[in-house]
C-alpha cells in the first residue's frame, strides 16, 4: 500500500498537470448522434428488472436475502453493460451515441422547428455519461452487497422495500444520466428524489425520519421547479428538449461566447442555465437548499453512502457539466455556480467542525465537497469537478460505509464523544484502515485521489484572475476539512478503547426477529434494555458485533478503489473523457493576452500541490493535537478547552448556524400562517358569501311568512290589492 502511494506520488510530482500538458483531444461534435450499442439499454434495464423482481418478492412475502442477491446480480450486470458501453463510446471519441427505446410524449402542431414537442425514452451516450454510469453502477453494486448484510436485521417486508427502492434508484439515476432529452432527465431527477424519499423514510415509524424524507423531497421540488422552468424555456428558445438538437441550436451562441461577444447573446438564453442552476442546487444540496442533506442521514447508512454522498447528489454537477455549453453562453450562471459552491463549501465545513454525530459530520463534508465541485465548474474546470465527483464518490462511500459499520456494530451509536479506539477492537481493523484511507482522501493528504482532484479545482480558481478570492475561500475550507475529518478519526478510531452502545438499535425492538446469523454473536435479542443503562458499564451486557464478510469485502474494495482513483488523474483519463463530451470548456478569445491569475507570482498549477498539502497537514496536526494527544476518555478532548475562545460562534456552528430555524421562521411559519388565513377566509368569507346567498331567500321567506295570517279575509285582501294595482296600472296606461 505504501509502496503504491509513493509510486503514485513520484509520478504525480513528475508529471505536469494534465489539463495543461496533455494535448487536448479533438473538440466533440455536438449535435450529432450516431447509433449506439444496444447493451446500453441494459444499464437502466437491469436495475428496473431488479426493481420489478424485488417487487414480486415483496408480493410473494419473501423473507430471505433473495432480493439482495437479485439486486446485486442485476447491478453487477448493469456495471458490466456500462463497461461494455464505455468501450464502445470511447471507441468513437467526441461523438455522442444514441439509442431509442420507446416513444413517450409526442406532440406536433406544425412543420416548423419549435412546433413539435418530442421526448422519448432514448439514451444519449457520450464520455460524460459513461463516466457517471461507471461509478454509479459500480458503487451501487458494492453498496448493495454491503447492505445485504447491513439490512439483514430487517429481513422480510422492510428488506424487500429497501432493495426495491435501491434498484429503482439506480434505474432513475441511469435515466437521469443517460437520457437523451431533458424530460427524461427530469424523470430521473424526480425518480431519484422519490427513491431518496422512500429510503430516507425507511424507518418510517421514526417521526424524524419521516420529517427528513419530506424535507428532502420538498427541498428537491423547489429545485425541480427551477429545472422545469429551465426546460420549458429551453424548449421555447431552441424548439426541442433533445440534447443533440439543443446543442445544435445553441452552437451559434457558443461561437459568440467563444469570440468574447457574450453580451450579444439574448438575455433569455442566458437565463436558461440560471434556472438549471436552481435545480442543480436543490439536488446537489447547495446554498440555500442544502438543509435537507444532513437530515437525510436518517436513512440507512448504505443509502447515505450511495445516494446522499456518491451518486444522486452529484446529479446537479452532472447537469451543469452536461449543459456547460449553455453555461458558457451566460454571463451570470457560472459566477453564481462558483460563488454558491464556495460559500456552501465553507459554511458546511464550519458546521461540520462543530458536530458530534459522525454521520452528520460526513453529511456536512458531503455538502462541503459538493460545494467544491460546483466551485470547480464555476471556475471552468469541468474536468476538475468531474474528477472530484469521481474521487469523492469512492472515498465518501468508504467513509459512510465505515460510519455505517460503526453504527451497525454499536447499536446506532454515532456520537464521537461516546466512542474511542474502535480501530483497535477485535474485528474492526479493516474498517479502521478503510476509514484512515477515506479520511486522508477527504483531508486532501498528498498523493491521495482527493488531493489531486481538490488541487485541480483550487489551481484553476487561483489561475483565473476573477476568482482569486474564491480560491482563498476554498483553500481555507480545505484546512477546515482536514481538521474535522481527522477529528473524527482521532477520536473514534484510535486512542483508548471505549464505547457506549446507542439506543436506537435500528428499531430492532420493533421487529422482533433480531439479527441474522452473519453477525456471529448470540444474544441477538438483548439490546432493547440498553437504553436504560446508557453508561460505561453498559459494556457488560453489550458486545459490539464486528462487521461480517460482506461489509469487510466491500470496505476493502472501496478502499482500494479510493486509492486507485488517483491513478486516472495520472493518465488524464477523466479530463480526456470530459473534453470529449459536451462538458468541454471552450477557449475564450480575450482579445489580447490571456490574463492568467497567479498565486503570489507563481503559476498556481505548479505550486498548488505544495500549498494544499501544507494546508491539509496543518488541519490534521490541529486535529491531532486537539483530539488525540493526551486524550484519555471518549467524552472530552483538549479541543473543549478552546471553545470559549470562539465565544458563541462554536455554539452557533453546532446549531448549524440556525439555518433551519431561520428557514422555519422566514418561510414555513409565514406560509403556515397564510395557509390558515386562507383556510379561514375560504371557510368564512368565500363559503360565507355562498351561505349568505343561500340564507337570504330563507330570511326573506321567514319575513314574508308573517304576512300569512291564515285568515281567509287576509288572502282576499291581498288578492284585491293585487287586482287593484294591476287594474290601476291598466287604467293609467289607458288614460
Amino acid at each position: 500500500m505504501t509502496h503504491l502511494l509513493s509510486h503514485l506520488a513520484s509520478v504525480a510530482l513528475a508529471a505536469s498537470p494534465p489539463a495543461e500538458g496533455a494535448a487536448r483531444a479533438a473538440a466533440p461534435v455536438l449535435g450529432r448522434v450516431v447509433e449506439g450499442p444496444w447493451t446500453a439499454v441494459l444499464i437502466p434495464g437491469l436495475p428496473l428488472l431488479a426493481a420489478v423482481l424485488v417487487a414480486l418478492c415483496a408480493a410473494g412475502r419473501v423473507r430471505s436475502k433473495l432480493p439482495a442477491w437479485i439486486t446485486v446480480g442485476c447491478l453487477a450486470g448493469a456495471f458490466a453493460a456500462a463497461v461494455q458501453t464505455y468501450l464502445a463510446v470511447v471507441h468513437q471519441p467526441g461523438l455522442a451515441q444514441g439509442v431509442r427505446v420507446l416513444e413517450w410524449i409526442h406532440l406536433s402542431w406544425g412543420e416548423k422547428p419549435g412546433q413539435s414537442f418530442a421526448a422519448d425514452f432514448g439514451l444519449y451516450l457520450d464520455s460524460l455519461t459513461m463516466l457517471w454510469m461507471l461509478f454509479v453502477t459500480g458503487l451501487a453494486t458494492l453498496i448493495a452487497l454491503y447492505a445485504s448484510e447491513y439490512m439483514a436485521h430487517d429481513l422480510g417486508a422492510g428488506y424487500n422495500r429497501f432493495y426495491f427502492a435501491f434498484a429503482l434508484f439506480v434505474f432513475s439515476m441511469s435515466c437521469l444520466v443517460m437520457g437523451d432529452n431533458l424530460i427524461l432527465l427530469y424523470l430521473g431527477w424526480e425518480g431519484v428524489g422519490l427513491c431518496s424519499y422512500l429510503l430516507i423514510g425507511y424507518f418510517y415509524k421514526k417521526p424524524s425520519a419521516v420529517a427528513a424524507a419530506k424535507k428532502a423531497f420538498i427541498m428537491n421540488r423547489i429545485g425541480d421547479l427551477g429545472l422545469a422552468l429551465g426546460i420549458m424555456l429551453t424548449f421555447v428558445q431552441f424548439g426541442s428538449v433533445r440534447y443533440a438538437e439543443i446543442f445544435e441550436a445553441a452552437a451559434p451562441y457558443l461561437t459568440l461566447a467563444g469570440e468574447g461577444r457574450i453580451g450579444e447573446i439574448p438575455l433569455l438564453i442566458q437565463l436558461i442555465p440560471v434556472l438549471f442552476t436552481v435545480g442543480a442546487f436543490g439536488k446537489s444540496a447547495q446554498l440555500p437548499l442544502y438543509v435537507w442533506l444532513p437530515d437525510a442521514m436518517e436513512g440507512p447508512t448504505p443509502v447515505s453512502a450511495l445516494i446522499h454522498a456518491a451518486t444522486m447528489v452529484t446529479a446537479g454537477v452532472y447537469l451543469v457539466a452536461r449543459f456547460l455549453p449553455l453555461y458558457q453562453c451566460s454571463t451570470w450562471a457560472l459566477p453564481i455556480v462558483a460563488w454558491t459552491g464556495a460559500g456552501t463549501a465553507l459554511l458546511a465545513a464550519t458546521i461540520g467542525m462543530a458536530q458530534f454525530d459522525i454521520k452528520r459530520i460526513m453529511a456536512y463534508s458531503t455538502v462541503s465537497q459538493l460545494g467544491y465541485m460546483f466551485a470547480g465548474l464555476g471556475v471552468l474546470t469541468s474536468a476538475g469537478a468531474a474528477y472530484h465527483v469521481f474521487t469523492h464518490a469512492f472515498f465518501k462511500a468508504t467513509l459512510f460505509l465505515g460510519c455505517g459499520a460503526v453504527m451497525h456494530g454499536f447499536a446506532g451509536q454515532l456520537d464521537l464523544r461516546k466512542l474511542s479506539g474502535v480501530a483497535f477492537m477485535k474485528g474492526w481493523g479493516i474498517v479502521g484502515l478503510a476509514m484512515l484511507v477515506g479520511c486522508l482522501n477527504l483531508a486532501g493528504f498528498p498523493f491521495t485521489a482527493g488531493f489531486f482532484s481538490k488541487d485541480m479545482i483550487l489551481a484553476e480558481a487561483f489561475a483565473s484572475p476573477t476568482y482569486q478570492a474564491l480560491g482563498w475561500v476554498l483553500l481555507f475550507t480545505a484546512g477546515l476539512t482536514a481538521y474535522y475529518t481527522f477529528r473524527v478519526f482521532f477520536r473514534v478510531f484510535i486512542g483508548p478503547k471505549f464505547y457506549e452502545p446507542g439506543d436506537e438499535l435500528h428499531a430492532h425492538d420493533d421487529h422482533g426477529h433480531g439479527h441474522g446469523g452473519a453477525h456471529g454473536h448470540g444474544d441477538g435479542h438483548g439490546h432493547a434494555p440498553a437504553k436504560a443503562k446508557a453508561t460505561a458499564d453498559a459494556a457488560h451486557d453489550f458486545h459490539p458485533h464486528a462487521p461480517g464478510w460482506a461489509i469487510n469485502v466491500v470496505m476493502v474494495l472501496l478502499t482500494v478503489g479510493s486509492i486507485l482513483a488517483a491513478y486516472p488523474y495520472l493518465i488524464s483519463w477523466v479530463p480526456g473523457l470530459i473534453d470529449a463530451s459536451s462538458a468541454r470548456v471552450i477557449e475564450v478569445a480575450h482579445g489580447g493576452e490571456h490574463a492568467h491569475g497567479t498565486f503570489f507570482g507563481y503559476d498556481p498549477h505548479a505550486v498548488m500541490y505544495y500549498v494544499s498539502a501544507i494546508v491539509g497537514a496543518v488541519g490534521i496536526i490541529f486535529a491531532f493535537v486537539l483530539h488525540f494527544v493526551g486524550r484519555t476518555g471518549a467524552a472530552t478532548a483538549k479541543a473543549d478547552a478552546l471553545l470559549p475562545v470562539f465565544g458563541p460562534l462554536a455554539r452557533w456552528a453546532q446549531n448549524k448556524w440556525y439555518v433551519d430555524e431561520f428557514y422555519n421562521f422566514l418561510v414555513r411559519v409565514p406560509l403556515l400562517v397564510i395557509s390558515h388565513v386562507l383556510h379561514l377566509a375560504d371557510k368564512l368569507l368565500v363559503d360565507g358569501l355562498v351561505d349568505l346567498a343561500g340564507f337570504m331567500p330563507q330570511a326573506a321567506g321567514r319575513g314574508l311568512r308573517r304576512q300569512q295570517t291564515g285568515a281567509l279575509n287576509g288572502y282576499a285582501f291581498g288578492m284585491v290589492l293585487g287586482v287593484g294595482v294591476i287594474a290601476a296600472i291598466g287604467a293609467v296606461l289607458l288614460w
Binding site: F717, V720, V723, A731, L734, W735
Partner: protein
Amino acid sequence: MEHLISPVLLYGACAIGALGVLVALPRERLTPAVFGAILLAGAFGALVLGLGFAAPDQVPNFHFYIFSLIALLASLRVISHPRPIYSALYFILTILAACGLYLILSAEFLAFALIIVYAGAILITYLFVIMLATEGPTADQVEALNEYDRVAREPVLAAGAGFIVLAALTTLLVGGSTGLKADPRLMPGDTRLAVMPQKVNDSLRAAGLIKGDEGVIHIEKERRWGITPRRDGNGTLYVADKNGLGASTRLIPQAQWPADLRLSNTEGVAFSLIDGHPGAIEIAGVILLMAMLGAVVLARKKVELDEAAKAQAQRHARLDEPDVAGVTR
C-alpha cells in the same frame, strides 16, 4: 280618448260610495246603515247624472235605473246586514233586480233561468245552511247575534281597497267601452236559420209566401231545405217544389221575409250552447256530478271536534247535566 264621464265625477262617486259602504257595514255600536244607504244613493245619483250627461240626446231608460238601483242597494244590504238570513233574502232581491236588467238586455231565457236556479235552488240551500249553522235565540237573549256577524273586519282597509279597485275598474270599463264598436263578425245573424228549415217553412207558410208542396231549399250546399241568408240583409230564399231544384224554383229576397223569420234569443242561446260549446257542457255536467258526490261525501263525514272545542263541549255538557255530575260526586 273621449271621456264618457268626467273622471273627477267618477272618482268622486266612487269615493262617496266607498264611504257609504264603510258607514253601512256592521260594527260594534250602532249600525247606521241608513246613512250609508243615503250616501250610496247619492253616489249612484252622481253616477247617473254623470252618465246621463254623457249621452244627453238619449232619453234615459227608466227601467234600467230602477233595476240597477234596486240591485245595488240590495247587494249593499247583503254585505251589510248583520243577520245572515236577511243577507240571503236581500241576495234574492239582488238576483231579481239583476233579472230585470237581463230582460232589458233581451236575455229573457237567462233571466228566468236565474230566478229558478239562483233564487229558487241555490239560495234555498243557503237558507237551509244558515238555519242549520246559526244558533237560535236563547231564552235570555233575544238578539242572538254572533260577534262575528256584528263586527266587520277591517272595514276601512277593505273599503279603501274596494275603492281603488272600483275606481280602476270603472275607469277601464268606461274608458274601454266608449270606443268599443260592436263586432259584426260576432253576430250570428240569421245564419242559424239555415239549419232550421221547419221554422222557416212554417213562418213562410204562415205569411202566405209559400203554398202547397213548395219548400225552401239551399242551393249551395245542395240540401233539400235551406236558405242562404246573408249578414248584410241580402240573403235569398230559394223556394222549390218536391221535385227539387228546377225551373219552378223561385227566390224570396230578404226584404220580403216575414218579421218573425229570425232567430229568437232562446234559440240563439241554445245554438251557442249546444252547437258551440258541447265539450263545455259535458265538463259542466261532470263538475256538477262531482260537486254532488263531494257534497254527499262531505256531509256523511263524522267530524271529530278538535281539542279546544271538545273541552268546551264537555264543559257545556257538564253544565247542562248537573245531575250526572252530582251523582258521580
